[in-house]
Amino acid sequence: MAKLDNIIHQPVRLQIMSSLVALEQSEQVDFVYLRKILKLTDGNLGAHLAKLEEAGYVRIEKTFIARKPRTFVKATGKGRDAFDNHITALKQIIGSADE
């Protein structure tokens, strides 16, 4: 029986992980672009990403492209597994309620 993940289940963090896991495993998304997709503020997104990074679910990379600082985010393997388990747990809750 899969268990719900307390860290991922928070609504904003669930959105973040949903977005990151929708990308290819080797793909990283730009912080600003992620903020636009999720319609969050810099501070809100940054705080939740820090929490996810602390849990090892995301990796944040700061780099330079064309001499401009850019921050990229991607879900780690651990994060993807945790997200998949969380989704499985949600489906089990729905499935058990249907029985």
Binding site: K3, L4, N6, H9, P11, L14, Q15, S18, S19, V21, A22, L23, E24, S26, E27, Q28, V29, D30, Y33, K36, I37, L38, I65, A66, K68, F72, I87, L90, K91, I93, I94, A97
Partner: protein, 195 residues
């Protein structure tokens, strides 16, 4: 931690919405300008071919060169300054994609068309567009990009319908409207609705 079935369903819906929005947004960041460029190339090339059929080869070679140059500039700018995502070995992948299209260009204009000559203008344009749509469908299958598959199939069907069913006098105008219009319209739609 326990949650209700209703909360679980709402969470799953939210996951699906965000996943779909993310995938569409990534496509919309790269593809629309290129589709719009090639839509315009097709429209201009087909209309020019309608009026100057015997110049079909130089028209398409010229417009193909312009389209390729514009595509390279768009992609180069996008990858350098505004790309929303970064892929491991992304630069290498970009060059591979560019090389693929460059090779296709060479094969079409410098190898296949000379081998198959003589041919009429309608055969030439139908051949070029169906080869490109074959590439679209193949890339769509590899990248799991459904809109590319459907676009490739739709334009192939309209090309075949035009080639075999439309009076030859109007074939190029038909293609300008359907093939060019499909590419331009798809690019505009993604630009407006998926971003």
């Amino acid at each position: 931690m326990e949650i209700s079935q209703n909360d679980a369903q709402n969470s799953l819906k939210e996951v699906e919405i965000i996943s779909s929005r993310t995938r569409k947004a990534v496509v919309a960041a790269y593809d629309p300008p290129v589709l719009i460029v090639w839509g315009l190339v097709c429209i201009i090339a087909y209309i020019a071919t309608h009026f100057f059929l015997k110049w079909v080869w130089p028209i398409w070679m010229g417009m193909g060169t312009i389209g390729s140059a514009a595509t390279f500039l768009i992609c180069h700018r996008q990858f350098r300054t505004a790309n929303p995502t970064k892929i491991a070995n992304g630069a290498k992948l970009g060059w591979q994609i560019g090389l693929f299209w460059g090779l296709l260009y060479i094969f079409i204009f410098l190898i296949w068309l000379p081998i198959m000559a003589p041919f009429n203008g309608l055969q030439c344009t139908a051949f070029i567009i169906t080869v490109i749509m074959f590439a679209y469908i193949t890339i769509g299958l590899w990248s799991n990009s459904r809109y590319m598959i459907w676009l490739g199939l739709a334009v192939t069907c309209t090309t075949l319908a035009g080639f075999y069913l439309i009076p030859h006098n109007y074939y190029c105008l038909w293609m300008a409207a359907t093939a060019g219009g499909a590419l331009l319209g798809t690019g505009a739609y993604i630009q407006l609705r998926w971003k």
